[in-house]
Amino acid sequence: MAQCKDCERFYVLEEDDSRGDCIQKGKDERQAYFYTKPVRAEHEADGCDSFHPRKN
């Protein structure tokens, strides 16, 4: 089962590899932006519409 750590958008924290940032590009009708939200490395990714498997 895929987890956040398997996702291209997951950036692990150097000081704690069980946690990281989910960083994505967002866009609304007025602006584009990069945004992040903290996630756990082992968070279940199956239900996530934005999951993008890591290439390597």
Binding site: D21, I23, F34
Partner: protein
């Protein structure tokens, strides 16, 4: 010059000639500013509702509630639990960096969201639940989440905790909505800050944390010595407050580092444009530096300020934005632009414009009555410019001018500027002010610095060196941002709907709109036999209304440190770091309270009409007038017209009516000294309105100035009624100058409309400056100008889509004309356009 540049210049010239300033600004500003300006989601409510697409932010509410549940049975004292809840929000909320931005930080999770703090008041949570236009999709699912959050906070929110400890009679009168506006909460109102401690570049959050660690260690040792007494018992509370402050500071550094990490990862892995990569790395470097450490350059200084505001607005719903940006950021501008030349003036303008944009987009979910009273904006962000320094010398600098230039480029309606005028202000600065006004911004307004410094000393006893540092605490009231001078919270409910004073004289204090006894039980008006008796009844009603509102605020302020503490605000306040007490603790503050007097001038014109037509000329009896008012003038039209046309009106240099204004103000001023705040200081009145004149139009009944229930009230302060100032601008100033602007009240809002065509060119500047000189010589504390002509405003009413960017001065704040109600629009058009010269 290239052909394109020539074309653009020609267009700009043409647009400026046609006074289409908003389109000209769009062409003149940099690509970055243009993008960022257009990126703003309009957060100010339109007709009490948020704009389409703007949504309540559920993320913060969920995070806050999640932590509150987790801590429910923790042995931590409340102040520490609360600090941990804030830290949890800051550690976990979504953060974003807008393309082209150089500054970061927002109260909500995404750009289109309005931050919702569920811990403030159940009544606010009900409003979120009942506002389907602001609930994000899927509405039903999210409504269920909102309900669950609301259920958790029922009985636990600040206001829910405060309600049972208020006097029930005062509470019922206050909440009836007839005489006051807002609720008494320490996490919902106008917070000044100790900028002299936190914004002078001497310390960052880490420095304060280090100091707190030392203090905590010392006190811990003290507490555990082999002795016991009252002082030691109290020390435990200090320890808790200091711990809580430390938690919020660490969380503040933590969220800045999250922005830094986002910027660094984006620059390294996601952004392909090399220029943007460099900008992102600069953002990362900035957020790694501040707020942990003091800023070193203009970008860091602005970013430091934004973090402070964002954190304070995560802790509380702040409806105002006390600030003095040219004073506190000016040295960085000077160094970067003029000395080290690390920034060109144009690059600096980009940063300044963006700094205003970051403030313009801030929004926190507010109840509908608050949104109606502040049409088109989220709160009154009146930033203070100009003025003098602590020694009394001119404090204007190059950044003062740069802010006004940036304002004309970004043309936001919020923040606006309140300019502290004094005799040594240079002509080049006056020109910039005039240019902003001429270009239809409606700001800066002018504040008479010498008068207001003297006023601060008179009313609240601020020492002159502190009084000279004052900032606008909300729209109008000066307050020093100093250790003992800053007021941590001015609760919005000390806002009196003063037209009720004269209305209640006729109803013996019974309010027919809300069907309850609210005011004093004065004798039947029909039985009063002379003007003195009538005036005495007015004084009784004034005292009754003011007392109800002030009692509630005093009670809330006394309870705030224990029931609703402000650990972050305390953490950036010298007096709290020193004492271990909460910022709201009244023993630490000198006191800077004021009663905002909405709908004040109706009293004056009404009293003048009664004096003339009832007592002097005996044309009507009080009994007849009472009946006419009860019937909302229906069946009494001729009589009503007499009261409109044959009675003298304030603002025409008419000694008879002007004397009534002065008499009313002096009665209020006398009583203001009997009303004391918990710090033992006075409660002077401050006549002004925001959009209260429209909000209250259906709440105030018929009045003796000829007004009917539902008619807009006057636009406020000491401005004459719209169209009733018939003797020209000098007569208005002369009437206003009969008021003593130092001792008759805290400040007095005066609206003036001037003709943009008359004021064009060098001659226009000369005329305006002469008018300002008369205003200053007459010792009037405030004046604000609208310089948009009727033609433009009427065209904007017909085709709002073409005039989205037209800004007008409402009262104490500016708004985009298309965002305010038709009634407010008409009210502004009805204001007399004064010809100068």
């Amino acid at each position: 010059m290239s052909t394109t540049a020539e074309t653009i210049d020609r267009d700009v010239e043409e647009l400026e000639k046609n006074q289409e300033w908003w389109w000209a600004a769009e062409k003149k500003r940099s690509k970055r500013l243009d993008y960022l300006r257009k990126a703003i989601w309009k957060k100010g409510a339109i007709g009490g509702l948020y704009a389409p697409g703007v949504k309540a932010d559920l993320e913060r509410a969920q995070l806050h509630t999640e932590k509150a549940r987790e801590l429910e049975f923790s042995p931590d004292p409340f102040v520490i639990k609360f600090a941990k809840m804030l830290a949890h929000v800051l550690d976990n909320k979504t953060v974003f960096i807008t393309d082209h931005a150089q500054l970061v930080g927002y109260t909500g999770s995404l750009p289109h969201t309005v931050a919702w703090d569920p811990s403030c008041a159940s009544l606010l949570n009900h409003e979120v639940y009942n506002d389907p236009t602001a609930i994000p999709d899927p509405v039903e699912e999210n409504q269920a989440i909102i309900e669950e959050i609301g259920t958790y906070w029922a009985g636990k929110s600040d206001l829910d905790k405060m309600m049972p400890v208020f006097d029930p009679e005062d509470l019922a009168k206050m909440l009836s909505g007839s005489i006051g506006w807002g609720v008494p909460m320490s996490r919902g109102g106008y917070s000044n800050k100790d900028y002299e401690y936190i914004m002078t570049g001497k310390r960052g959050f880490q420095d304060i944390i280090d100091e707190l660690d030392k203090k905590i260690d010392e006190l811990d040792e003290e507490i555990h010595k082999p002795v016991a007494n009252k002082e030691i018992a109290e020390m435990v509370d200090k320890l808790n407050h200091w711990e809580a402050m430390k938690i919020t500071l660490e969380a503040g550094i933590g969220i800045a580092r999250r922005y830094a990490r986002l910027a660094r990862i984006t620059a390294g892995e996601l952004e392909t444009d090399p220029l943007r990569q460099q900008e992102l790395l600069k953002i990362a470097e900035t957020c790694e530096r501040v707020p942990a450490h003091p800023p070193r350059n203009l970008q860091e200084s602005f970013q430091f300020d934004i973090f402070i505001q964002m954190l304070s607005r995560t802790e509380a719903i702040e409806g105002a934005w006390p600030a003095r940006p040219d004073y506190y950021h000016g040295a960085y501008y000077e160094r970067d632009v003029n000395i080290d030349k690390t920034l060109t003036p144009e690059e600096a303008l980009d940063l300044i414009g963006e700094f205003m944009i970051r403030a313009a987009e801030v929004c926190q979910f507010k109840p509908k009555w608050s949104r109606e009273g502040l049409q088109g904006i989220d709160g009154t962000w009146v930033w203070t410019l100009g003025g003098v320094d602590a020694n009394g010398d001119d404090a204007c600098n190059d950044l003062t001018i740069a802010f006004m230039k940036a304002a004309r480029l970004v043309r936001v309606a919020n923040p606006t500027f309140g300019f502290r005028w004094h005799p040594a202000v240079k002509d080049e600065v006056m020109r910039e002010i005039f240019e902003c006004l001429k270009q239809g911004l409606g700001y800066p307004n002018l504040r008479h610095d010498p008068i207001l410094i003297a006023n601060s000393m008179h009313w609240h006893g601020h020492p002159i060196e502190e009084a000279r540092l004052w900032v606008h605490q909300a729209c109008m009231s000066p307050c020093p941002p100093t250790k003992h001078g800053f007021q941590p919270m001015r609760m919005a409910n000390a806002t009196a709907n003063c037209a009720k004073i004269i209305e209640y004289v006729f109803t013996s204090g019974y309010d027919p709109i809300v069907n309850m006894q609210v005011g004093a039980e004065t004798p039947d008006a029909a039985e009063l036999t002379d003007f003195e008796q009538f005036f005495n009844a007015w004084v009784e009603q004034m005292k009754a209304i003011f007392s109800i509102l002030v009692r509630a605020v005093n009670r809330a302020r006394l309870l705030a440190p224990s029931l609703t503490p402000r650990p972050f605000l305390s953490a950036i306040s010298e007096r709290c770091i020193e004492s271990g007490l909460d910022a709201c603790d009244s023993t630490l503050e000198r006191g800077n309270a004021w009663i905002t007097a909405f709908t004040w001038v109706e009293n004056i014109d009404s009293l003048a009409a009664v004096k003339k037509l009832v007592f002097d000329e005996k044309k009507y009896t009080l009994g007849e007038l009472k009946e006419a008012l009860e019937k909302n003038w229906e069946g009494f039209e001729q009589m009503r017209l007499d009261f409109v046309r044959k009675a003298p009106k304030w603002g025409n240099d008419d000694d008879e009516v002007d004397a009534i204004m002065v008499r009313c103000l002096r009665e209020a001023a006398r009583f203001s000294k009997e009303l004391k705040c918990p710090s033992g200081n006075n409660w002077p009145i401050l006549p002004e309105n925001v959009s209260g004149n429209i909000h209250y139009s259906n709440i105030v009944g018929a009045l003796p100035n000829g007004r009917r229930l539902g008619d807009a009230l006057y636009d406020g302060g000491i401005s004459p009624g719209p169209g009733l100032d018939k003797n020209g601008p000098t007569a208005v100033l002369k009437s206003c100058s009969k008021i003593n602007h130092i001792s008759d009240g805290r400040a007095f809002l005066l609206n003036q409309r001037l003709s943009p065509s008359q004021l064009s060119g060098e001659n226009g500047f000369r005329l305006w400056k002469a008018y300002v000189r008369s205003w200053a010589d007459l010792g009037i504390d405030h004046i604000q100008f609208n310089m948009v002509d009727d033609k433009t405003l009427r065209a904007a009413q017909k085709e709002p889509e073409k005039y989205q960017e037209v800004i007008v001065r409402v009262a104490g704040y500016s708004a985009h004309f298309v965002d305010i109600s038709r009634k407010t629009q008409d009210n502004i058009i009805q204001r007399t356009i004064q010809g100068l010269g």
